[in-house]
C-alpha cells in the first residue's frame, strides 16, 4: 500500500520539467562553453572564471533599429517598418509611426535624451528614480518626463499627449504640466484626442493602471534651472522630492488649470484585513494561480508578492518595477533589491541598473548579503568595472571567507 505514495509522487515528478530557458540566454551559455572549451581546463569548483567573463549581452526582442548607449553624438534613426517598437536597455519603450525620425542624444541611466524630428512616437517610461531624467526634444518643445506613457506628434508643430502619469513641456518661454488624459497642441492644453498611436497608448495606459504605477507619489526628476530665461515660469526642482509639484500657471489660451491636475484615484476594493489578504495572495501564488495573485497583490499594494506573480507570468519588466517599489519598505528591502537586480541583469539586459540596486542588498544586516555580493562581483567584472568588483570581493571575503564564491573573490584580488 505504501508504494502508492511513491508511484503518485513519481508520476508527478516525471512530468516535471525545468523552467523555460530564454533563447538568448541559451545561446549565451553555449558561446561561453565553446569559448571555454578552447582554453586549458582548470578546476571549475575553485574558480568559475566564466561567471566573471560573460560577455555583455546586448539583447532585445523585437526591434529593427539599433540604438547605441553612451555619450555619442546623436544619430538619426528612421523607422523602417511601421509601427516599430523599440526597447532601450534602460527599460523605456518607444513605438513609432512610419517615417518617424528619432535621434538618440544620450541613453545613460541618469540621462536619457531623445529628439523627435518628425512623425509620432509613443513613449512608455518607467517611474524615474531620484537623479534620473528623461527628456524628449522636438523642434519647438522640450518634454520632461516623470514616469509615464505619453506621445509626441511632430508635424508643423508639436502635440504632446499624456496617456498616464504626467510630463512637463517647455515651449519657448511657456511651461506646461500635463497629466493623464491631457494634451498640448498649438492651441493649448485640452482633453486628449486620437493620434496615430492612440490605441497603443490606451493599451499601455490600461497596463499601467493595472500595475498602479501612478498611485504612489512620484519622484520628481531634477530639471535644470532656467530662471534666466523665464523667471516667473520656470519649473525649478534642484533636488528630487516625493511631492507632486503644482502646475505652473500659464496665461496662454487653453492652458491647463490646477483643477485639471487630479491625482490618479485608486480603484476601490473590499475592506479586508491586510493580513488575511496577504495570506490569500501567498496561497494563490502557491497554488499557481499567478494572475489572481498578481491582481490581489496589486490591489493591496503587496509589491513583493506582485513581483513574484509577474515573474512567474514572465512579465519581467513589471516584476522589476514591483520589486523596486518593495525596496522602499524596510522589511522587504534586501530581498526585493536582490530580486530586482537579478531580473535587470538576467532578463532585461540592464546590468548597470542591477548594480545600482544591489547596493540595497549588501547591507550587513541583509540576509541576502552573500548572494548580493557574489552577483555584484560578477556584474562588475562583466561591465569591466574592476574597482567595483574588487571592492565587492573584499567585502565578500571579510564576511564569508569560506563561502562558495570565496575562491573566485580571492582570484579577483590576486591572492
Amino acid at each position: 500500500m505504501s508504494r502508492s505514495i511513491l508511484d503518485e509522487v513519481l508520476a508527478a515528478a516525471r512530468d516535471d520539467m525545468p523552467p523555460r530557458l530564454d533563447p538568448v540566454r541559451a545561446r549565451q551559455m553555449i558561446d561561453v562553453a565553446v569559448t571555454s572549451g578552447q582554453t586549458t581546463s582548470g578546476d571549475l569548483s575553485r574558480f568559475a572564471w566564466w561567471r566573471f567573463a560573460l560577455p555583455a549581452v546586448v539583447a532585445v526582442a523585437v526591434i529593427v533599429l539599433v540604438i547605441s548607449l553612451g555619450r555619442r553624438d546623436h544619430e538619426p534613426i528612421a523607422a523602417a517598418i511601421p509601427p516599430t517598437e523599440l526597447a532601450l536597455p534602460t527599460g523605456d519603450r518607444i513605438v513609432t509611426t512610419p517615417g518617424a525620425v528619432i535621434d538618440v542624444v544620450s541613453a545613460t541611466r541618469e540621462r536619457r535624451t531623445l529628439r523627435v524630428g518628425s512623425g509620432t512616437a509613443l513613449f512608455d517610461v518607467p517611474r524615474l528614480a531620484a537623479g534620473e531624467q528623461f527628456v524628449v526634444h522636438t523642434p519647438d518643445s522640450e518634454v520632461t518626463v516623470v514616469g509615464t506613457v505619453f506621445s509626441v506628434q511632430v508635424d508643423t508643430s508639436t502635440t504632446v499627449r499624456v496617456y498616464e502619469g504626467h510630463v512637463r513641456v517647455r515651449r519657448g518661454d511657456l511651461a506646461f504640466e500635463l497629466s493623464t488624459g491631457q494634451q498640448l497642441d498649438r492651441s493649448g492644453v485640452g482633453t486628449i484626442a486620437a493620434d496615430p498611436l492612440f490605441e497603443r497608448g490606451m493599451a499601455l495606459m490600461r497596463a499601467r493602471l493595472a500595475t498602479r504605477e501612478s498611485v504612489r507619489d512620484d519622484v520628481v526628476a531634477s530639471v535644470p534651472a532656467r530662471v534666466d530665461r523665464t523667471p516667473d515660469r520656470a519649473i525649478v526642482d534642484p533636488a528630487p522630492s516625493r511631492k507632486r509639484t503644482a502646475p505652473v500657471p500659464d496665461s496662454s489660451p487653453g492652458a491647463g488649470s490646477v483643477d485639471d491636475h487630479r491625482p490618479f484615484e485608486p480603484l476601490t476594493e473590499p475592506q479586508l484585513s491586510e493580513g488575511a489578504d496577504r495570506k490569500r495572495a501567498l496561497a494563490l501564488l502557491a497554488a499557481g494561480d499567478f494572475v489572481a495573485a498578481r491582481d490581489l497583490a496589486i490591489a493591496r499594494g503587496f509589491d513583493l508578492i506582485e513581483g513574484d506573480a509577474h515573474r512567474a507570468l514572465g512579465a519581467h519588466r513589471d516584476a522589476a518595477r514591483a520589486y523596486e517599489r518593495a525596496i522602499t519598505r524596510r522589511d522587504d528591502a534586501c530581498i526585493a533589491a536582490l530580486l530586482a537586480a537579478r531580473i535587470h541583469n538576467e532578463k532585461l539586459a540592464a546590468p548597470e541598473r542591477a548594480l545600482t540596486l544591489l547596493a540595497s542588498a549588501i547591507d550587513p544586516t541583509c540576509p541576502t548579503r552573500e548572494r548580493a555580493l557574489a552577483l555584484t562581483i560578477r556584474i562588475a567584472t562583466q561591465l569591466k568595472k574592476p574597482e567595483h568588483g574588487r571592492e565587492a570581493a573584499q567585502r565578500y571575503l571579510e564576511s564569508f571567507p569560506s563561502g562558495d564564491h570565496a575562491g573566485a573573490a580571492r582570484s579577483l584580488l590576486g591572492r
Partner: protein, 171 residues
C-alpha cells in the same frame, strides 16, 4: 571530432533537464548547467566515439551535478521555484503537484549522492538498472541494490511526510 557548437545546441535542453532532475528545483540550475556545458565542450576534444555522445554528455553532467550537490551550493527549494504543471490541471491539483515535487526532493536530499543519482536515472529518467549501470560505469547488480535501498528510504520518507497526508488513507 564532432562540432562542439552543434553538439551543445542539440544537447542543451537534455543537459538542463538532467541537471534539473538530479538537483531538483533550484536557483543554481543555470549555473550548474553552464558548468556542465563547459566540461562537455572541453572533454569533446578527446572524445573517441566509443560511446554515444549523449551517454558521454550524461556522464559528465552527472559528475558536475553530483559535485554541486556535495558542495551544497544550492538554495532551499522554495515553492515558487517549482515549475507549474501543465495548464489543464485544476488549482488544487497544481498545489498538490508542487507539494509532491518538493516532498520528493526533500526525501532525495537525505540520500547519499550515488543513491540519489541512481534513483533519478531509473525512476525519473526511466532507465533500466542495466542502462543506468552503463551510464554510471558500474556493475548492474550494484545499481540494482542501490536502487532498492533508495526506493525504500524515499518511500518511508514520503509516507511520513505530513504535507502529503492528503494523498491517501491507511497504509
Amino acid at each position: 571530432m564532432p562540432n562542439v557548437d552543434d553538439v551543445l545546441v542539440a544537447l542543451l535542453p537534455r543537459i538542463r533537464r538532467w541537471v534539473h532532475r538530479i538537483l531538483g528545483p533550484t536557483n543554481a540550475l543555470d549555473d550548474v548547467t553552464q558548468d556542465a556545458l563547459i566540461e562537455i565542450a572541453r572533454a569533446l576534444k578527446g572524445f573517441r566515439g566509443d560511446s554515444a555522445v549523449e551517454t558521454f554528455a550524461y556522464r559528465i553532467t552527472i559528475r558536475v551535478a553530483s559535485k554541486a550537490l556535495r558542495r551544497r551550493c544550492l538554495d532551499a527549494v522554495s515553492l515558487e521555484l517549482v515549475p507549474p504543471p501543465p495548464d489543464h490541471i485544476d488549482p488544487e491539483s497544481r498545489l498538490a503537484h508542487r507539494e509532491m515535487i518538493r516532498a520528493l526532493y526533500r526525501a532525495l536530499d537525505a540520500l547519499p549522492t550515488k543513491r540519489r543519482v541512481t534513483f533519478v536515472l531509473c525512476e525519473l529518467e526511466g532507465m533500466t538498472p542495466t542502462e543506468a549501470a552503463i551510464v554510471l560505469g558500474e556493475g548492474a547488480a550494484t545499481v540494482r541494490s542501490r536502487l532498492r535501498r533508495a526506493r525504500d528510504v524515499v518511500t518511508a520518507a514520503l509516507t511520513k511526510d505530513a504535507n502529503l497526508a492528503w494523498l491517501g488513507g491507511p497504509r
